[in-house]
């Protein structure tokens, strides 16, 4: 029943863009991870103090889960079917039926309950994405894009991961294409997606885009330098930035790759210069992460105000970047 041979797994930096690139390529669309990410306007920043993960606020360096999947529908004239289930049994029956039909199926899962993840990476994060491309005995054959090679997972473990509860619970969500109307990426779609990202990053709301970065900077500046909870908070920012879903700097680098592809697709070569500039901003995020990590480790004294200053500087750079990009897109 397995169609394993026909499917090509490529390693990706981020789960959702990687899943969509692998799935689109399987259906004959030449798609890279960075193109999927940019075309779906995946880049963002949001500071959501009212959503807590283990008591700490949600800080997102990209758009919410499923937005890359949904963002690719219009540009590719694609229709996807999304299904959630009341019971793990129903979810597994449906998955097996789709696999028997030869479908490659996307799933949203928890990270914690997937045994093939390294133990130290298994946190209760429910918005992971992967593809199932076959079944062998009781094992599902899985293309998890953040792994170099394909992996396997028993049906009991996968059911648990699909039906984990809590924030962003997947409810067994599976998805697959019913039709992809366009097999090439149109320049107009690229420009439209870039305009949306500009709009999100410069949005006039305090928690999103560059304003969200400044709000987070203010929160960091107010942390006491001598409290253990401050180190936990700062570590959390960096962890959300780098480790979970491959984060802040990583997303800037992916978007820079998209800008180079955008230059080729649209023929507007100056997007290449923007790519260069965004790469430098991404390096700035990595400097921030390193400075924070050194303080957490006790190599440098904990200095929330200095870190807040770095965040503000990054917000200023990103604001300048997106204002200039907005002008270039006119």
């Amino acid at each position: 029943m397995s169609e394993a041979a026909a499917f090509e797994h490529l390693h990706a930096a981020h789960c959702e863009s990687g899943v969509m690139a692998n799935l689109m390529r399987h259906h004959g669309v030449p798609m890279t991870e960075s193109l999927a990410f940019g075309l779906a306007s995946g880049l963002s920043f949001a500071y959501l103090p009212f959503i807590k993960l283990s008591g700490l606020p949600l800080i997102a360096y990209r758009m919410p889960p499923r937005s890359i999947i949904k963002g690719l529908m219009a540009p590719m004239a694609a229709r996807f079917k999304f299904e959630t289930f009341r019971s793990p049994e129903a979810g597994q029956t449906r998955l097996d039926a789709l696999l028997a039909d030869g479908q490659i199926v996307g799933l949203q899962t928890s990270v914690y309950w997937l045994p093939y993840f390294p133990p130290d990476m298994r946190f209760h994060f429910n918005a992971h994405n992967l593809l199932v491309y076959g079944k062998a005995g009781d094992d599902y054959l899985i293309s998890d894009p953040v792994f170099e090679e394909t992996v396997r997972c028993s049906s009991a473990d996968l059911a648990r991961a699909r039906f984990a509860k809590g924030v962003l619970q997947p409810k067994g969500l599976l998805y697959y294409p019913q039709g992809i109307g366009r097999k090439v990426v149109e320049p107009a779609a690229v420009l439209k997606a870039m305009r949306k990202t500009v709009r999100v990053m410069l949005a006039p709301v305090p928690i999103a885009g560059v304003r969200g970065m400044r709000m987070l900077a203010n929160k960091v500046a107010s942390l006491p330098a001598d409290a253990k909870s401050s180190a936990a908070y700062i570590g959390h920012i960096v962890r959300m930035q780098e480790e979970i879903g491959t984060g802040g700097a990583g997303f800037r680098f992916i978007y820079a790759a998209f800008l180079q592809e955008a230059a080729a697709i649209t023929g507007m070569l100056r997007f290449g210069e923007f790519a260069e500039r965004l790469t430098v901003i991404g390096d700035g995020w990595r400097h921030f992460a390193l400075a924070a990590a050194r303080m957490i480790k006790g190599r440098d004294p904990l200095d929330p105000k200095a870190l807040a200053g770095q965040l503000r500087a990054l917000a200023d750079q990103e604001e300048g970047f997106f204002r200039d990009l907005k002008v270039a897109l006119r």
């Binding site: 990476m121 209760h124 924070a292 957490i296």
Partner: protein, 132 residues
């Protein structure tokens, strides 16, 4: 980040896994480079894992002192807190808190214990005592 600057520091937290990085090649074009890890990430991941281990060990000490039920240890051992155990078990947070006490846990029906066992992915027998 330049391709030759992609960190290959062998993070313990990655357990031998490599993650893909987007970097700048010699000609300025993006290249994809698998990374063995970066120290900054290892520090913040270990920080989170260690905090969870510490919580579990503190809970274990409370259980041994008779001031908490083993359920509290297992909650932290499974990297959860009261808010998450409430969401996964379906009990209100104030009830979860009560069930973490010795008397509160003792008063649980077999069915309610099964709910906690399911939420934690453990057996009913396991959650009633500390690991040997």
């Amino acid at each position: 980040m330049d391709a030759d600057a992609v960190p290959q520091e062998g993070n313990a937290t990655l357990a031998g896994r490599r993650k893909l990085m987007y970097a700048r090649g010699a000609d300025g074009r993006t290249v994809l480079v698998p990374s063995r890890g970066w120290e900054a990430e290892e520090i913040v991941t270990s920080q989170a894992v260690d905090a969870l281990i510490e919580q579990a060990q503190e809970a274990r000490a409370r259980v041994l002192a008779g001031s908490a039920a083993p359920l509290e240890y297992w909650m932290y051992e499974r990297r959860m807190d009261v808010a998450l155990l409430s969401q996964t078990s379906g009990f209100w947070q104030w009830r979860v808190r009560r069930h973490l006490t010795v008397a509160g846990f003792a008063g649980l029906s077999a069915k309610d214990r099964q709910r906690y066992a399911d939420a934690l992915g453990l057996s009913v027998d396991t959650i009633a005592r500390l690991p040997a």
